[in-house]
């Protein structure tokens, strides 16, 4: 479409791109380096190549034991997995039918409902942090998995509703109409036709929902103060706390915790962009 610029200009563009890529990669490489380099200090040299290689940080991370002799990292991983899975389950289960109704039926309050879900999804959950803290404190749900799942559901449900609604909008309506003519009830149509068709959309929504909960930090660190209830983000942040910073441990933890979600992100990223902006455009 456009003319090919001359060689010098092209070399400049490539050079600029490579410098940018280097800036993007540098912090990541530093962390990877630190994960394998002995010693607790972060970067005494700016070089992204380790001066010695050790698996000591990983050994410390996996081998740390609590007061009862249990493996703490296993514990925190389990907390994170259980909380993220439960949040995803709650989010998807409660929002499937609502997303379908918002996509297909016309009823009074539909527009208000859509706007509410959008606003709640866009606005930060930190605005609800204080009332949620006071309520969970009254109910005795601080430091409890149930409490944090309820807190995460406040964002997971609107997110799932919007993403799934976007997906249902793309499904053809002919099958449903045919089924309706044959006398199928809306519930039957939803269960037998829509749900099977929407499986990929539901899977993607569930994965995003899982990743959001997996990566959440401030709520977890506020609501889970008992060390045995930490999730992985809280553990990682506490390893570089105010008084004792062990950057080696941090780096090892960061690598282990973020690798799975990064892989998932790369697989799913093309769906994410569509969903996010679609919500904003139509709202």
């Amino acid at each position: 479409m456009t003319r090919r610029p001359n060689l010098a200009a092209r070399i400049c563009v490539y050079a600029a791109l490579i410098v940018l890529v280097a800036i993007v990669l540098y912090p990541v490489m530093l962390v990877c380096k630190k994960a394998f380099e002995p010693g607790p200090n972060f970067a005494l040299s700016a070089s992204p190549v380790p001066h010695a290689v050790t698996l000591g940080h990983f050994r410390t991370l996996f081998g740390a034991r609590g007061s009862g002799g249990e493996l703490m990292f296993l514990r925190h991983t389990l907390n994170s997995v259980v909380i993220s899975l439960a949040t995803t389950a709650v989010g998807v289960a409660l929002s499937c039918t609502a997303a379908y109704a918002l996509s297909r039926f016309s009823f009074p309050g539909r527009k208000t409902g859509l706007t509410t879900f959008l606003v709640v999804q866009m606005f930060p959950a930190t605005l609800l942090l204080l009332p949620l803290y006071v309520i969970l404190d009254k109910l005795g749900l601080l430091n409890s998995v149930t409490g944090l799942v309820l807190v995460y559901s406040t964002t997971a449900i609107p997110f799932c509703v919007w993403t799934l609604k976007g997906y249902f909008d793309t499904l053809p309506r002919e099958l449903e109409e045919a089924a309706r003519i044959d006398g199928a009830s809306p519930w039957l149509i939803f269960r037998r036709i829509i749900l099977p068709l929407a499986r990929p959309g539901i899977a993607i929504t569930a994965l995003f929902s899982f990743m959001t909960a997996w990566n959440e930090f401030i709520m977890a660190s506020t609501f889970m103060t008992d060390e045995s209830r930490f999730t992985l983000p809280v553990l990682i942040q506490s390893s570089v706390g105010q008084y004792s910073a062990d950057w080696g441990l941090f780096a090892a933890g960061a690598v282990v915790t973020s690798l799975p979600v990064m892989v998932a992100f790369y697989v799913l990223q093309k769906y994410l962009v569509g969903g996010l902006t679609a919500g904003a455009v139509k709202g």
Binding site: T2, A16, L17, L20, V21, V24, L25, P27, V28, L30, N41, F42, A43, A46, A93, L94, S95, T97, A98, A101, F105, R110, T116, V119, V120, M122, F123, P124, T126, L127, L128, L129, L130, P131, V134, I135, S153, T154, I157, V161, P186, F190, N215, F217, I218, T222, P233, I236, Q237, V240, T257, S258, V261, M262, F265, Y266, Q269, V273, A280, V281
Partner: protein, 511 residues
């Protein structure tokens, strides 16, 4: 049929009224328990001071705080029964009570541990008579009273329907539920219930309840489908939100809430008597927040769009690889990114300063001045945020028909004119919503501020959300203040979404 719809309306209002009445009961009961326990504690302490045994409480006469001979910084106290011998005081509750009395002469209060125990202190010479009551047994919920009143309400409503005065019947029925709160002298709850009753009666008169029920019946499939998510949202989002709004009007101190009207809002919005450049002044923080948002969005959009334009050149090789590498920051959980950059900015020997040294520039102490600390935050967030804008811009560029460029070339438009008149106008519709969304995210980018600069130096780089958090959890549990802050932030965001994004979008639409 009338009876059926009458009972339906009554049931709806009765649920609300019962919730209000129950809340009134709990609060009246707690207040009653507190009063009784405090009186008991006071009587007990007075008895101890008069040399008698404590009544239904434990405690004793506590001596003044004395420095321990071996450790001059450690204080200890002794305690004795009236007429008994001195013993070392080990009860932390009693020790703390004595200290609190010495400090601010508080003579009696309820323990904040939910057991309903009260403590009282009465000075007796240079000793303190201190009594701690036993845990209180709260009165049981008056189930029978409630059932009785409900029955009365039912009868009244049904009678009204049969007599042809539906609205009157429901009003009387629901208002009957206001009687128990009246008995507990909860005027607020009683009038709230009366309001509900009046509102329902009015709605009924105008046929609104029948319309609503009819609408629900007609759209019952939709209602059924939406119900799970809707109910969850009401319980998990709307209820906490309303509670947050209400808490903004209270002050929280050591477990007790006091109604203070609009004091919190007044303190925040007036700057609380602090100078305009005081980091705790709301307007200062708002300024920082807006500057933070504008800087970030400008950088994200500029870098993102430029990169997208470069990556969409047809002659560029390795596009896929570049794109994949450049979105890496988006893939990393943002709390990890923030912590990495915090480490890189840290101290004399952090990675950034080492790089600066290598370039012959002397190192910067990043978190000791406002400008550098703020820049550190912006650098981190730019690294983190430009991929989103880049990806959005790339997507939008793909949708521009190639014929437009060809036609423009034929007409003799140069590269700048093509960019100005074809590319940028086509980018706007996609970038508008992305900027709207990105501005809200950045305005509330808690993790970067909290983890990178942590507000340093001296709280001056906080943004609104992190400052609200600090009021709640790092400045003496000022929950009311934090709730008021959250309300104000919400109002700002709402104004921005309603008006601001309209501007952004309108620009996109007419381009």
């Amino acid at each position: 049929m009338t009876i059926y719809s009458q009972l339906r309306d009554l049931a709806f209002a009765a649920v609300i009224a019962l919730a209000i009445a129950s809340a009134a009961f709990v609060s009246a009961r707690d207040k009653d328990v507190a009063e009784r326990q405090l009186a008991l504690a006071n009587r007990s302490a007075a008895a101890l001071a008069a040399g008698q045994a404590a009544i239904a409480a434990h405690g004793g006469l506590v001596g003044p705080a004395l420095a321990s001979p071996a450790h001059p910084f450690l204080k200890h106290r002794a305690i004795r029964e009236p007429g008994g011998a001195w013993q070392p005081l080990h009860d932390k509750l009693i020790y703390d009570a004595a200290t609190r009395f010495d400090r601010d002469h508080a003579s009696g209060w309820l323990l904040a541990d939910g057991t309903g125990r009260a403590i009282a202190v009465v000075p007796h010479g240079d000793e303190l008579a201190i009594a701690v009551t036993d845990p209180a047994k709260p009165a049981p919920y008056p189930l029978l009273v409630m059932i009785g009143v409900l029955g009365l309400a039912l009868a009244l409503a049904a009678a009204g329907a049969l007599a042809g005065h539906r609205a009157l019947g429901t009003f009387a029925g629901v208002a009957a539920l206001a009687v128990p709160p009246l008995l507990w002298s909860s005027w607020l709850a009683a009038s709230a219930i009366a309001l509900v009753a009046a509102g329902l009666a009015l709605a009924q008169r105008r046929g609104l309840t029948d319309q609503l029920a009819d609408g629900m019946r007609r759209h019952r499939t939709a209602v059924g489908f939406v119900a799970p998510a809707a109910i969850a949202m009401v319980v998990l989002v709307v209820a906490p939100f309303v509670i947050g709004l209400v808490l903004g009007f209270y002050d929280h101190h050591q477990g007790t809430w006091t109604f203070v009207g609009i004091d919190n809002f007044a303190e925040i919005l007036s700057g609380g008597g602090r100078a305009l450049d005081d980091p705790l002044n709301f307007w200062f923080i708002l300024g920082v927040t807006v500057l933070w948002t504008v800087c970030n969005i400008a950088l994200h959009v500029t870098i993102g769009v430029v990169l997208a334009l470069v990556l969409s050149r047809s002659w560029l090789r390795g596009k896929g690889v570049f794109r994949m590498l450049l979105i890496l920051p988006w893939a990393i959980p943002n709390y990890i990114t923030a912590l990495i950059w915090k480490g890189m900015f840290q101290g004399e020997y952090g990675a950034i300063n080492s790089l600066l040294h290598a370039l012959g520039v002397s190192g910067v102490s990043w978190f000791s001045s406002w400008a550098t600390a703020f820049s550190a935050n912006v650098i981190t967030n730019t690294w983190l945020g430009f991929p989103f804008m880049m990806v959005v811009a790339l997507g939008a560029l793909e949708t521009i028909p190639k014929e437009l460029y060809e036609a423009a070339s034929v007409d003799g438009a140069n590269a700048w004119q093509r960019l100005r008149h074809i590319t940028l106008p086509h980018l706007r519709p996609a970038l508008g919503p992305a900027v709207a969304l990105g501005s809200i995210w950045t305005f509330n980018m808690f993790n970067v501020i909290y983890l990178v600069s942590g507000g340093k130096p001296g709280d001056s780089t906080n943004i609104l959300v992190t400052d609200a958090y600090r009021w709640a959890f790092e400045r003496g549990d000022r929950y009311g203040m934090a709730a008021a802050y959250a309300t104000i932030i919400f109002a700002i965001l709402l104004l921005w979404t309603v008006f601001g994004t309209r501007i952004v979008r309108a620009k996109g639409a007419d381009a």
